[in-house]
């Protein structure tokens, strides 16, 4: 037991099957993960994920969302996701990864691994609490409102569509407003000719723990439509819960701040893409296309390849 523990601590190249809880079919993604670890091998520390409290007291959203709901939803449900996440990550190759990295690795392109549910739900709930504030609701302004008008026609149409998405997510799940940079409407498809018009706001809904991070979108706003989110206050009346959320709880300030970050990251990635394309043009042609690409990304400062 002690030997296994020290092996995990000293080496970042532990094989996934050795005493770890990940199923062997995770090998393809474990390969990708080991590469991530190789990049910063010095940073393999056992990080535990903590339950962050909402940015307001548990009774601050009354009467629109009761303290009792917050006590269960945050105090029990969210807390359990974080607890389970720590349990599932301990002693595995997922240890030390950021929450977002765990989400993308364990999403495994749709062939979801066990830790995904805990990780994604931990992230989703953090995001959800921050999407609300006491005295929230109303209308957004500035750039955000302009984009909403551009991509949905009007704020009223946006609200209608968002409420409809939340109401028609069958079973458990979430509805989102997200910023889609240069991704096409199809999963994993990148638009090579991205322009200003492709940086769109979209409304999406997702089942259970899935969130738009897995489609490489930038989430801006979410509403939890698992029954536990509204049952104490609204019982079966999900539509009423959604209306109250829009009218009294949404923190447009937070959404705005997220949009700014999303635009900045999108611009960063565009510049990175440009840089990579230029380097591709200068590179001598070699045999193995795929490996070359990946190695370039990892060892971008290594000049020994360039001629």
């Amino acid at each position: 037991m002690a030997a296994a523990a020290s092996m995990v601590a000293s080496s970042s190249f532990t094989f996934p099957s050795q005493g770890l809880r990940l199923p062997t079919r995770s090998h393809p993604c474990m390969k990708a993960q080991r590469r991530i670890l190789r990049k910063d091998a010095s940073n393999v520390i056992a990080a535990t994920y903590e339950l962050k409290p909402p940015p307001y007291p548990l009774n601050a959203l009354e009467p629109h969302m009761s303290q009792e709901t917050l006590e269960y939803h945050w105090g029990k449900h969210h807390r359990t996701y974080v607890k389970n996440l720590n349990k599932q990550v301990l002693g595995t190759d997922l240890e030390g990864l950021s929450l977002e990295d765990i989400i993308s690795v364990t999403y495994n392109r749709g062939d979801i691994l066990p830790a995904f549910n805990s990780a994604a739900q931990a992230w989703n709930h953090d995001f959800f609490w921050e999407s609300m504030r006491p005295g929230g609701g109303g209308k957004p302004s500035g750039d955000l409102l302009d984009l909403i008008k551009r991509d949905f026609g009007s704020f009223e149409r946006f609200t209608e569509e968002f409420k409809s998405a939340a109401a028609t997510q069958f079973g458990s799940g979430w509805a989102w407003l997200a910023y889609k940079a240069n991704r096409l409407g199809v999963e994993n498809a990148v638009n090579p000719w991205s322009s200003e018009n492709d940086k769109k706001l979209v409304i999406v809904k997702s089942p259970n723990a899935v969130n738009p991070l897995v489609w490489d979108y930038f989430p801006l706003l979410t509403i939890d439509v698992w029954e536990h989110a509204y049952y104490i206050d609204f019982q079966n009346r999900r539509a009423d819960y959604i209306s109250v959320f829009m009218e009294k709880l949404v923190s447009w300030e937070t959404v705005n701040a997220r949009l700014e970050k999303a635009k900045a990251r999108a611009a960063e990635r565009e510049m990175e893409e440009e840089r990579r394309k230029k380097e591709e043009e200068w590179k001598p042609t070699d045999g193995d296309e795929d490996d070359e690409g990946l190695e370039m990304y990892v060892d971008s400062d290594d000049d020994s390849e360039a001629e």
């Binding site: 269960y72 449900h77 079973g171 536990h228 049952y231 104490i232 079966n236």
Partner: protein, 230 residues
């Protein structure tokens, strides 16, 4: 005058025709089945508040939406609007499934004074011992599956008619048991959607699963089993 009556006759004929069409297609509408017991009769295992909401709100909504979807489907088929036909499939599966599943569920539970909770006798009791070793072992497995189900869904005890054995299965959302296998017959379904237990058990689904066995109607399950394995 003649023209007017011609027009009227035409409209009349059209009206009659469409009625005939509807009648020949026999668009059935569904309605909420009555419960064979009072809402409070399953306490303390399941609260009366939950039973009433579950039956009058949730099940009723599935039926209302199922009827609506069927009507829209009927129209779309008549108009040859194939894309709408395709679009409606998920609403039909979801709401129709909700109606089917809950109709079974109300028969799966019964008040204690009507033998709810009484262990299965007859051929089902024997089959359970054969397939799972004991009733306790079966219950343990079903509860484990039910607790582990992510999101919303059902946990089932089913009969595989082809392989002639009992199976434990879970389905997501309102998918009926047949979606897991065409020869699967539901004997017992336990709703693990949060609405089935939240007001009473909150996040502690395992407690709900532990307690529901006190009101499980094995007589019904045995009846289905005997009929389907004949």
């Amino acid at each position: 005058m003649a023209l007017r009556s011609l027009a009227t006759r035409k409209t009349l004929t059209l009206g009659l025709n469409s009625t005939r069409l509807t009648q020949s297609r026999a668009l059935q509408t569904f309605s909420l089945p009555d419960l064979p017991y009072d809402y409070g009769a399953l306490e303390p295992a399941i609260s009366g508040e939950i039973m009433q909401l579950h039956h009058q709100k949730h099940h009723q909504t599935y039926i209302t939406n199922y009827n609506k979807a069927l009507e829209q489907l009927h129209e779309a088929i008549q108009k040859g609007d194939f894309s709408t036909v395709a679009k409606l499939q998920s609403a039909i599966k979801f709401n129709g499934g909700g109606h089917i599943n809950h109709s079974i569920f109300w028969q799966n539970i019964a008040p204690i004074r009507e033998e709810g909770g009484e262990p299965p006798k007859g051929s089902l009791g024997w089959a359970i011992d054969t397939n799972f070793g004991s009733l306790e072992s079966l219950i343990q497995k079903i509860n484990a599956e039910g607790a582990a189900l992510q999101g919303s869904g059902w946990v089932w005890l089913g009969l595989d008619k082809e392989l002639k054995k009992l199976v434990i299965e879970t389905t997501a959302n309102q998918d009926p048991l047949v979606t897991k296998g065409a020869h699967l017959v539901p004997l017992l379904g336990i709703d693990v959607w949060e609405h089935a237990y939240y007001l009473q058990y909150k996040n502690v689904r395992p407690d709900y699963l532990k307690n529901i066995w006190k009101v499980i109607n094995w007589k019904y399950a045995n009846g289905v089993y005997e009929k389907e394995s004949a």
